[in-house]
């Protein structure tokens, strides 16, 4: 199926070695295309990467993989991606969460990967709302309606929820985890995106491989390379060269030129447009704004030893949940996510993780972080870490006396790993669900195409590769 025999010509050039780019690469290489993945950073993974510091392994991004499925499940996105990429269940080997909680002042809702617990919790804490919750569940769009064609996709999730649930606090509480795990829009959510995240978090649930995100990335890269795919790190794309209304290739930061029949970009919508040399002005206002800092604490004991067994806690310290970029401060710790990778049900033969870890994610302002001079940046990392931890211990046991090591990553770090404008974690609010651009042979995958999260990004790469790069031949 190779369309040109020139030695430096690729059937498909993929920009970005994150989850979506690697997954797309596997599909195309499997069906005999000559594929090259270009990555600007010195490592793979994009938002979902990892690093090693002070002898310890850290994950960027991954708290939990959503869309949990048990071995043998045939439905749902995880089963689909395993089939499409020709993996086996053991290649992911997901351990199920112990249980997570949504904590607001004076009220908490627990949930697991079995929706029945959340239903029981709602019945007890919000008597009178359970029928509304069930009818909301019945009104969810199916994954097959997620190509954007359904009129309801773009409705306000808050509006739809209010048609079913009359208690505003319950609406806020249900939205909190879904926005935290996959909403690029400030304050409200598209109903379609709400449905994707509702299924991913509440109906399917959370899991994690014992070895974290590196295990998934290692499997993706090994498979891609095994199929003859080429992966070039430290190879940022400076320019997509356009001739006669078609992309003909890319120019790398170091000046190297590569030609390709088509280009699949996970760099983001605005970011990809900026690379195209036929476009002079890019509407940067369309880029996403939501970015995070993450405050990581390594502990001298396991979280369960001091009574904390939650996999994830989504907290908010008032009755209204504010989901927007902090405009006048570096961070906003009124709401946050507490995650402990220790609190999964790992197999007996895997044992325990080497350290107890608590990770806290809070909202942050990318521009303010990037404007700090270096000494101030370092000092603020310490200050904002303390603020995030102080905020979180209102919703979990105080762990501060057990901390032996800390690290913080900021929107500046996220920008370095993803190269997305504003360090926007979930990309632009306006998704390009069909993956098309103004050019007939340049396509988008990854966060700005639609699905987010690890499973979502992989499914995005697969579906865009199938739709635009395989079926056209």
């Amino acid at each position: 199926m190779t369309e040109s025999n020139a030695s430096d010509h690729y059937d498909t050039i993929i920009i970005g070695a994150g989850m979506s780019g690697l997954a797309a690469g596997i599909r195309l290489a499997h069906f005999d295309q000559r594929v090259c993945i270009l990555e600007r950073h010195y490592t793979i993974g994009g938002l979902n990467s990892f690093y090693r510091m002070g002898g310890r392994d850290y994950d960027v991004g991954l708290h939990a993989m959503t869309n949990f499925a048990k071995r043998g499940d045939k439905k749902g996105p995880l089963a689909k991606l395993i089939r499409q990429l020709r993996f086996r269940w053991d290649d992911f080997k997901l351990a199920e969460q112990i249980g997570s909680s949504i904590r607001f002042p004076g009220v908490s809702l627990d949930f697991t990967n079995d929706i029945e617990l959340l239903e029981t919790e709602i019945e007890q804490r919000f008597p009178g709302q359970i029928d509304g919750f069930r009818s909301l569940c019945d009104s969810l769009l199916d994954y097959s309606d997620m190509d954007g064609g359904d009129q309801r996709f773009m409705r306000s999730a808050r509006e739809v929820m209010a048609e079913h649930i009359s208690e505003p606090l319950l609406i806020e509480m249900l939205l909190c985890p879904l926005m935290w795990y996959g909403n690029a829009r400030e304050n409200d959510m598209d109903f379609g995106q709400f449905c994707i995240m509702f299924r991913a978090c509440y109906l399917e649930g959370f899991g994690r491989p014992f070895k974290g995100v590196r295990m998934i990335l290692k499997n993706l890269v090994r498979k891609f390379r095994g199929l003859g795919g080429e992966l070039k790190l430290r190879s940022g794309v400076a320019k997509i060269h356009v001739d006669n209304g078609r992309a003909v290739g890319v120019v790398l930061d170091d000046g190297t030129e590569l030609t390709g029949t088509r280009i699949l970009s996970s760099a983001g919508n605005v970011e990809t447009m900026r690379m195209c040399d036929d476009i002079t002005e890019v509407d940067v206002a369309r880029a996403g704004k939501l970015s995070f800092i993450e405050s990581i604490s390594v502990l001298d004991r396991m979280p369960q030893s001091f009574g904390f067994d939650r996999t994830i806690v989504f907290y908010n310290d008032s009755e209204s949940f504010h989901w927007s970029r902090p405009e006048h401060s570096l961070c906003d710790a009124r709401t946050g996510v507490i995650c402990s990778p220790n609190n999964y049900i790992y197999d007996g033969d895997e044992g325990e993780l080497p350290d107890g870890v608590v990770r806290i994610t809070t909202l942050a302002n990318h521009d303010r972080w990037c404007a700090l001079p270096d000494d101030k940046y370092q000092a603020e990392k310490v200050r904002q870490y303390e603020a995030a931890v102080a905020s979180s211990v209102r919703f979990m046991p105080d762990f501060r006396r057990y901390v032996v090591d800390t690290d913080v990553f900021t929107p500046k770090t996220i920008r370095r790993f993803t190269w997305h404008d504003n360090g926007a974690v979930y990309g632009a609010p306006q998704k390009q669900l069909d993956g098309t651009t103004h050019l007939p042979n340049v396509f988008l995958c990854g966060t700005d195409q639609g699905f987010v999260g690890i499973v979502g990004a992989i499914v995005s790469g697969i579906s865009m590769a199938n739709r635009h790069c395989l079926q056209v031949q």
């Binding site: 199926m1 069906f31 005999d32 071995r71 043998g72 045939k74 439905k75 689909k80 089939r83 499409q84 020709r86 086996r88 269940w89 697969i462 579906s463 199938n466 395989l470 079926q471």
Partner: protein, 86 residues
């Protein structure tokens, strides 16, 4: 290829698409969809695997012929008769 060899080849493709699936009890006269819960993406994969492995082209209007093992083998027999099993 004989019909039996074509059947083995389809089994091999299904095994490749879905390695954790138990294919031993697969019934030839029951649609794949009812036994294996294959979706449209998986059907497309069967088509593409046949193209990749044997250069067999299946036009989109013929996809319906791939509903069950029996109908698939029957449909492919004239197309794969002259292919020597590798």
């Amino acid at each position: 290829m004989t019909p039996a060899e074509i059947r083995d080849e389809i089994l091999d493709i299904l095994e490749d698409i879905s390695p954790d699936e138990d294919l031993d009890g697969l019934k030839d006269d029951v649609p794949f969809r009812d036994q294996l819960e294959l979706d449209s993406m998986d059907f497309l994969d069967i088509v593409m695997e046949l193209r990749k492995r044997y250069r067999v082209q299946i036009p989109e209007e013929d996809y319906g012929a791939l509903a069950s093992m029996g109908s698939t083998v029957e449909y492919l027999e004239p197309k794969m008769r002259d292919i020597v099993k590798s």
